[in-house]
């Protein structure tokens, strides 16, 4: 008789591959994961409670701190939710600039994902390339907002000021060179035999399970569910742009990788179209000095780089929201991890965490 003995291994919260302070308890039988228990909350700052003690405008920069790799996406969700509640119509120029900045954020966020994901699996080179390209984007953000990571780029009603001179050229320059860089990444990874071994048929989740567990964004699209909030419930001016929603077939790490890679190209296309048709005119709607939405409740969601980011606001008619609920994509996506890693090797856990693209700032809030 062979005696089977389970070992419990604590991965995190200070493990480099957990991308922050995420801890996962693994029950191992040899090298195979039998059971797992994700433990979160190390970065909890009580953002939803804070929201109940800040005015609507004051809460905008706090949303930057949720998913800190895609600060501008978080802001877009928040300001649009408040605008929906107040019935504010944002000028076209502001909408176009918002789309350009949000899509640049998506590329920046995916670049960090790609670099660190590859680094986790063992490709050292790529992270340096990714951060070089991300630097371009951060320079653009600095030019427009003065901030690089937590930008505070949007205001309720539009933008705080128009974009500076040279912005359009700089974005054009980036959009022109980026597809070339992207094909370089493909050359390094997509057909690389080691990469394929580490990602193909690893961490599979079927479309049915993905829907049941509430996955969203690239994580559900990797399983073949063609759903993107930008297409299904278009917000801002996304309905004016031509782009495709890439999907995978099997739902493994490789499919999620391919979906995100293609998304970067599509974001590039959106930016290209937006720059070409950038209208002139006002950049902020007429918004009262004191923002006081009517009593009521709204739910507004956007397609953040990680998935569906939703804001549910309950207003009692005062200047301070009665309740703000943030539906973070990473929090719900992370639930899928147990299903993906059980029965897999312990080394694959790292690949699966990377393929989910989690940011603890928004999971723990």
């Amino acid at each position: 008789m062979v005696q089977v003995r389970e070992i419990v291994v604590n991965m995190g919260p200070q493990h480099p591959s957990t991308h922050g302070v995420f801890r996962i308890k693994l029950w191992l039988d040899g090298e195979v994961v039998v059971k797992s228990e994700p433990i979160i909350g190390y970065l909890h700052r009580g953002v939803e409670k804070l929201a109940e003690h800040r005015t609507y405008a004051q809460f905008t920069p706090i949303t930057d701190r949720l998913d800190y790799l895609a600060a501008i996406s978080n802001e877009l969700g928040w300001v649009e939710a408040v605008e929906k509640l107040m019935g504010i119509e944002v000028p076209q120029r502001a909408e176009y600039i918002r789309v350009i900045l949000t899509e640049l954020t998506r590329i920046a966020s995916h670049l960090v994902w790609l670099g660190t994901h590859a680094l986790d699996i063992g490709v050292m080179t790529l992270v340096l390339y990714c951060f070089r390209e991300r630097e371009h984007i951060l320079d653009i953000f600095e030019m427009v907002t003065g901030g690089r990571l937590t930008c505070h780029a949007f205001r309720i009603g539009g933008l705080p000021q128009d974009v500076p001179e040279g912005f359009v050229d700089k974005v054009k320059e980036f959009v022109e060179v980026f597809p070339k860089y992207l094909s370089d990444y493909h050359k390094l990874l997509t057909n690389n035999r080691i990469w394929l071994k580490r990602t193909k048929n690893v961490g599979i989740i079927t479309a049915k399970d993905a829907i049941d567990l509430g996955l969203s964004g690239p994580s559900i699209r990797g399983s073949g569910v063609k759903w993107d909030v930008r297409k299904s419930n278009p917000y801002s001016v996304y309905s004016k742009f031509d782009f495709i929603v890439p999907t995978g077939e099997v739902g493994d790490v490789y499919d999620r990788y391919m979906v995100r890679m293609e998304e970067m190209r599509q974001s590039c296309r959106i930016i290209e179209q937006a720059i070409k048709s950038l209208p002139s005119g006002e950049i902020c709607a007429k918004v009262p000095k004191v923002i006081k939405p009517p009593a009521g409740e709204v739910y507004h969601s956007i397609e953040a780089p990680k998935g569906e980011l939703g804001y549910y606001i309950v207003s009692d008619g005062s200047t301070i929201p009665y309740r703000v609920r943030i539906r973070p994509p990473s929090f719900v996506n992370l639930q899928g991890i147990s299903k993906m890693i059980e029965g897999q090797l312990v080394a694959d856990v790292v690949a699966v965490i990377g393929s989910l693209d989690i940011v603890l700032g928004e999971i723990d809030r």
């Binding site: 399970d209 829907i211 567990l213 569910v225 539906r327």
Partner: protein, 163 residues
């Protein structure tokens, strides 16, 4: 009862008619505002309604579960569920009211994603879910006292410097 009944789009009207046909006794209130349909139901009928919405009306995706605290009301907590239809791309909001200490049926049997979302509600509001497989705190540590998102929980703890 209905706010803006005239402007209700056809698909929401269809959904509402079907829900009313099957759950006429248990609906408390329906509301249409900001382009969003809300159905408020007695909490005993939550699971049958959700199953009906999922299976008959194709709301196959549970977006979010949360709660709102109204300490001055007799039924203090309002549970809020956001559903989405991946096929038709509609959203719907289901609400139910409960008293303090009352239990709500867990949605984990209908959607797997309800697991963590309900744990968070339990953590933040202290609402217990009947039939939940693993009801523990999720964001705060196990020794934490109180439930921070209740309105009577202070923003800053006693004896600490405000900032």
């Amino acid at each position: 009862m209905m706010e803006g009944e005239i402007t209700l789009p056809d698909f929401f009207q269809n959904i509402l008619n079907k829900v009313k046909e099957n759950f006429s006794q248990s609906i408390v209130e329906t509301k249409y505002a900001f382009g969003e349909l809300t159905i408020k139901i007695k909490h005993e009928f939550l699971i049958p309604l959700m199953q009906f919405l999922k299976e008959e009306l194709e709301f196959d995706y549970l977006t979010d579960i949360t709660a709102v605290d109204y300490p001055e009301r007799e039924k203090r907590f309002e549970m809020v569920y956001h559903l989405f239809s991946l096929k038709n791309h509609y959203r719907i909001r289901v609400k139910t009211e409960i008293k303090e200490g009352e239990k709500v049926s867990s949605m984990t049997k209908v959607w797997g994603s309800a697991n963590w979302l309900e744990r968070e509600v339990y953590d933040m509001f202290g609402i217990e879910f009947e039939g939940h497989p693993d009801l523990r705190r999720i964001l705060l540590s196990d020794e934490w006292e109180g439930h921070p998102l209740r309105k009577d929980y202070p923003l800053i703890g006693d004896g600490k410097q405000p900032y």
